[in-house]
């Protein structure tokens, strides 16, 4: 009898534990099975009052104000639709979004990074294809849409373009006696020598974060590899074309003139005055290769936290004998996606974002280049004008390679470039590292 009582107590305990596991397991399995139940094409209601949630990454300043205004204006136009903006800190964004998507609590609209991440969301049936009208297509333009298209379907509404080039201090260039911006790597190397003579770091790079260092390789690859070679790798992930090794050799030989600041391996790119952007902001370095978010970052790091008045921009120099177009441009693009359960009113808000007025406000708030050509007249800063001209002249634009080739290969590529810059590997080692990574993911 005593034994039986004990057994019962134990059974109770076991049952309680079992229940806990079961709860946890079903909680998880629920998310899993719902995910596999494929993408509905906007289960949305119509007519009644609808609330649309939006996740974006501008947490303060004019960027956050832009979103608030856009939401209010859209509500005035469509009183039955309430747009709920949620700002999420950039570094927290991807993790939070991933959890939300997997647990079926995703926002209706969210900032899309594109590339491999967007591909993974499409594969998991977590986002909707967009049926763009002719007006939408005219507003966004074919080049930008191409970057958000997978297998003929558009999965993100592009909002801005982030062409990459070299930001430089006009004052320091003048002081070093440099009269025109360099157009070839040889010119750039000559300018590096001149800048060293006036005792500033010629070029700042935040190699601690890896990607800023890797962008040097991306741009050499953009010059060395033809467009078709670069886009073919998206599917094959095989870096067999000799141009990939050539780009690595180019970077290695460029390193021989020591163009970067002392201790660049442990310099971060955006945090504080000691970062690469901070060095440019404080005239400790003359140049930095970066996408067009850089002026905003630099502005926050100048002594008075105002935009750097002498900031200029020039496109990445050409490389003799390269297979890529000499005016091709590297760059990312911002955009927004609809999660699978988003109501159709959410798409209306996306369309609203690319209209002329909204694009002008957006470009002003984020100090960026709008995707809508009619809105591009608001671009007045000298560096943005230069970047826009180069962008409009470019025969094609290539997405940053760590996005383009997916996180896995991109991450390995970035790490390998850091090793190359530290002298720990060579061009062949970079190509091998990227191929090895493909096996892990």
């Amino acid at each position: 009898m005593a034994r039986k009582t004990r057994t019962k107590a134990r059974t109770t305990a076991v049952a309680a534990i079992g229940l806990g596991i079961a709860l946890a397991a079903t909680g998880c399995a629920g998310g899993g099975s719902d995910n596999s139940s494929s993408s509905g094409s906007g289960s949305g209601s119509s007519g009644g009052n609808v609330t649309v949630t939006v996740w974006e990454n501008a947490t303060n300043g004019p960027g956050a104000a832009y979103w608030k205004n856009a939401a209010a204006q859209y509500h005035t136009l469509h009183p039955n639709v309430t747009i709920k903006i949620q700002s999420i800190q950039n570094e927290d964004f991807d993790g939070k979004l991933q959890t939300a998507l997997n647990s079926n609590s995703a926002p209706d609209i969210f900032m899309q990074r594109g590339g491999g991440k967007m591909q993974a969301m499409v594969d998991a049936g977590q986002i909707q294809p967009l049926n763009l009208t002719a007006t939408d297509q005219a507003n966004t333009g074919a080049a930008a849409l191409a970057a958000s298209t997978l297998d003929g379907k558009v999965y993100a509404m592009p909002t801005d373009t982030q062409p990459e080039g070299i930001y430089y201090s006009k004052d320091l260039f003048k002081k070093a006696g440099i009269t025109s911006t360099p157009t070839t790597i040889a010119d750039l190397e000559a300018d590096v020598a001149k800048l060293k003579a006036i005792k500033v770091a010629p070029i700042a790079v935040g190699a601690k974060d890896a990607w800023p260092a890797a962008h040097w390789y991306y741009n050499f690859a953009l010059r060395e590899c033809s467009q078709s070679v670069m886009t073919d790798v998206v599917k094959s992930l095989k870096f067999t074309d000799p141009c990939w090794t050539k780009a690595g050799t180019d970077l290695a030989s460029f390193l021989k003139v020591s163009p970067f600041q002392n201790g660049f391996l442990t310099t971060s790119s955006q945090q504080g005055a000691g970062s690469s952007a901070g060095m440019l902001a404080n005239h400790k370095a003359a140049m930095e290769l970066m996408g067009n978010w850089d002026p905003g970052v630099i502005a926050s790091l100048t002594p008075n936290q105002k935009p750097l008045p002498d900031l200029g921009w020039f496109p990445f120099p050409t490389v003799p004998g390269g297979q890529g177009a000499p005016t091709a441009i590297m760059g990312g693009g911002g955009g927004f996606s609809l999660s699978k359960n988003a109501p159709k009113e959410a798409f209306g808000f996306l369309e609203f974002l690319v209209t002329k007025d909204q694009q002008e406000a957006y470009a002003k708030a984020f100090d960026t280049i709008p995707i809508n050509k009619q809105a591009q007249e608001v671009v007045t800063d000298s560096y943005n004008v230069s970047a826009l001209q180069a962008f409009n002249k470019a025969p094609y634009s290539m997405q940053f390679l760590d996005t383009e080739y997916g996180q896995n290969v991109g991450n390995a590529l970035n790490t390998a470039i850091v090793n190359l810059m530290a002298g720990k590997t060579d061009a062949a080692g970079v190509v091998k590292a990227t191929s090895d990574a493909a096996a892990k993911g």
Binding site: A2, A13, G20, L265, S268
Partner: protein, 341 residues
């Protein structure tokens, strides 16, 4: 667990009329005469134990055991973290880990940190503790100063040292100003120096903890032993060697255990100072850094989970071996060994 293991012993004791482990309620009330009352009392005790421990057990299962099980599950998949895992790859992730030269080098770094922590911090901590155990002026202040680095958060320590040790940071600047510019170096990025830089920072940070442990151990050694030895004419060093060190043994062994586990799991300082990319280049990356780099940063959550499992198993095996062979005599009586009393 202990409930089931202790059962037989409790049962036998109970039959002899002495109160057992599980009979807290019973023994509180004076000698219940009838068996029925006893049984009801015991059942109540069981329910109480269940109710009281259930929340803790549930938390432990939900936030420790369940995630470990999930990591083991995802370790068998190639999974990018979006949607459900479907691409079963068997043991392929583990094969890749063990053949990856990057993993070999992080293992090596963990090993170096483990051994050097013991070798560098142990003797210094013991000597400092012996010194601080003597009466002297400013003892309390020195104790506090030695313990302060341990209290400061890893992020602050990492950021501070990281800034000071930059190629154009405060340390090189100072060396330049006092005429030692020949000693200036790239403390963080030079692969020959970086691991030693890390060891200096780790020792600075954690030695306070070791010293406090050793001091506590010293205080628990009975004063009489020292007095007796002094009367017998033993010198200061003889006393330390023959009495203090042997009696400090349990403390040293526990400290070493904590240090070993800490070394195997080292993450935050390296992550803050070097970041997940440059750590590999500079030769300071650890298993945890490798896991973050290959798992989260590369978006290979399946592969990352497999690394987590490997790390867990390595730590577990080391901990079990250490407990079995080194800590056995210290833990005697504290752990239940297979129900044998």
């Amino acid at each position: 667990m202990s409930d089931t293991l202790g059962t037989d012993a409790a049962e036998s004791r109970r039959s002899q009329g002495t109160p057992g482990v599980g009979d807290v309620v019973e023994s509180a009330s004076p000698a219940p005469s009838r068996a029925g009352v006893r049984r009801r009392g015991r059942a109540r005790a069981r329910i109480e134990i269940t109710v009281m421990s259930a929340p803790a057990i549930l938390m432990f299962l939900a936030f420790v055991i369940f995630p470990v099980a999930l990591a083991a599950y995802y370790g068998f998949y190639r999974w990018h973290g979006y949607g459900a895992a479907t691409d079963w790859v068997g043991l392929n992730n583990y094969k890749l880990i063990f053949t990856d030269p990057a993993f070999h080098s992080v293992l090596w770094h963990n090993g170096v940190v483990l051994v050097l922590s013991l070798v560098l911090q142990g003797p210094v901590a013991i000597v400092l503790a012996l010194l601080l155990n003597r009466k002297m002026r400013g003892r309390a202040l020195i104790r506090v100063l030695i313990f302060v680095p341990y209290v400061i958060s890893e992020v602050i320590v990492g950021t501070g040292w990281g800034l000071m040790l930059q190629a154009n940071g405060a340390i090189n600047d100072l060396l330049g100003h006092i005429g030692l510019s020949s000693l200036q170096a790239d403390w963080l990025a030079n692969p020959h120096l970086a691991i030693w830089t890390l060891m200096v920072i780790i020792s600075w940070k954690y030695i306070g903890f070791a010293v406090i442990l050793m001091l506590a151990g010293l205080q628990s050694i009975p004063e009489e032993l020292f007095e007796a030895a002094q009367i017998d004419g033993a010198s200061y060093w003889q006393i330390q060697r023959r009495i203090t060190l042997p009696l400090l043994g349990p403390t040293i062994r526990i400290w070493a255990f904590l240090s070993i586990i800490g070394s195997l799991q080292l993450f935050d300082l390296v992550y803050i100072i070097w970041g997940p990319y440059v750590a590999g280049t500079a030769g300071t990356s650890t298993m945890a850094i490798y896991m973050i780099g290959q798992g989260r940063n590369a978006g290979n959550f399946g592969y990352g989970s497999a690394i987590a499992v490997v790390m867990f198993l390595i730590s577990l095996v080391v901990a079990l071996i250490y407990q079995r062979f080194v800590l056995r005599r210290d833990l005697k009586g504290a752990v239940t060994e297979g129900g044998v009393v």
